[in-house]
Symmetry: C2
Subunit: 255 residues, 2 copies
């Protein structure tokens, strides 16, 4: 039997330590091809490149059959991989391990999760992994056991068509993590602070910064799971329709 | 009574003719502040700028109280407007009129719709408008009647909390448009063609192109509405949870 073909991508760039850890775990399950941005692409969402052309080049990468650095966004990378790099349709798309959380509404801004969503659009079982630690020397080792379990079960049990998983892992020692919890995306929002500064010419500029706040912390949410020491798994789809509103609109005169 | 404060934004850039048409319509309903990218930002999705600072500058703009060009993405622009430019919370966020369709899954890649979704995250009634005509000299006049109706009803009837509308308008003469249809997002996908070329140094590069294909054309979808001469209105939310899968996962050993 042919080994599974696994596409590994991310948004922190091909030189980030998170994608090295993920590739190492993935290599236990099949042949791994890495296709990742040549520079950090955090917060790129589902961005695609349409006003300039794209390139990719082969690079060395431990535990991978082949690896390519692209000059596009995370979603561009999945499209390049699917249509120009891989010799056949992959059995699995893995994205991450992201340096920092992608829980709650952050899934909408996340390049890591957007790459997984692009995989789901192509109807390939896809998983995005994020560790709740932004630091450059984050310890990805405790994550590996949980990532292995989730990959194994995804390969054997499959996911619903056109869905992917958003997996977030608390920054805790392995023995302190209480388990894996399947949950829903918490609602929440960013309290933005656009930090005002002046350049040497006296002109204003702004750094986008802020604090994420969730008021939605019932035990069925990813935020609750993470705050209580669980790995959170949110099954993700990309139908944005607010179905209850369709019925409400029947009272609008124009429908 | 205070006039409504309306924020107008887009992804085609502040010099596109679509945003001029939208601002003209919006000005009938309140005080309009335009905040839009200083260059085209199509396909930027929910992308935010975190690795470099942002700037904005005042520009002249017909039918607007004030207008600002930003050097960020469409979503950056909404954040700048909300937290640094507007003197109070707007009553309405309008995005567009986009040059080209944002129906079906294209809502996920669209900068126009992402700006509206950012408005919804801030719990402001928000609407993204798109005309099914990419050309630089697209005729936005037939759209104006329908846009007026939809703005009027949104201001009086309100939307469900944290939702926005995705409005697509067929490129037809006004009298050929059959009406407005509230519908769901059709499923579909892009058949990518990454067009391969060689630069003068002999290196390969790729243009991301392709064709959108929908196999989901029942009369309750936006694709059906548009193909049958209706303006499509899809109510949009941003909870990506695939709720039916949560139950399925109860059979996974780790949950």
């Amino acid at each position: 039997m042919q080994k599974p073909l696994i596409l590994v991508c991310n948004d922190d760039g091909i030189f980030a330590s998170g994608i090295k850890a993920l590739t190492q775990v993935a290599s236990k399950f099949g042949d791994v091809i890495v296709v990742a941005p040549d520079k950090p692409q955090s917060g790129m969402g589902m961005s695609i490149t349409i006003n300039k052309p794209l390139r990719f080049r082969k690079v060395d990468f431990d535990h991978a059959q082949e690896a390519y650095a692209t000059d596009g966004t995370p979603v561009d990378g999945v499209k390049l991989a699917m249509h120009k790099i891989l010799s056949r349709t992959p059995d699995l798309v893995l994205s991450g391990i992201n340096h920092g959380a992608n829980s709650s509404v952050n899934v909408m801004y996340s390049g890591t999760m957007s790459a997984a969503i692009e995989g789901a659009m192509e109807n390939i079982p896809s998983i995005g992994f994020s560790l709740l630690d932004h630091s450059i020397d984050a310890n990805f080792n405790p994550s590996k056991t949980f990532i292995s379990k989730i990959i194994e079960h995804t390969l054997t049990r499959k996911l619903a068509p056109h869905t992917c998983l958003n997996v977030n892992i608390p920054a805790l020692p392995e023995e302190a993590i209480k388990g894996i919890k399947v949950c829903r995306q918490a609602n929440g929002n960013w309290t933005e602070e656009l930090e005002e500064r002046f350049d040497p010419m006296g002109s204003k500029y702004y750094w986008l910064t802020g604090k994420y706040e969730s008021t939605d912390k019932t035990p069925d949410t990813d935020i609750w799971a993470l705050e209580n020491g669980f790995v959170s798994v949110v099954p993700i789809q990309y139908d944005l329709t607010h179905h209850p509103s369709i019925t409400n609109f029947e009272h609008w005169p124009f429908s």
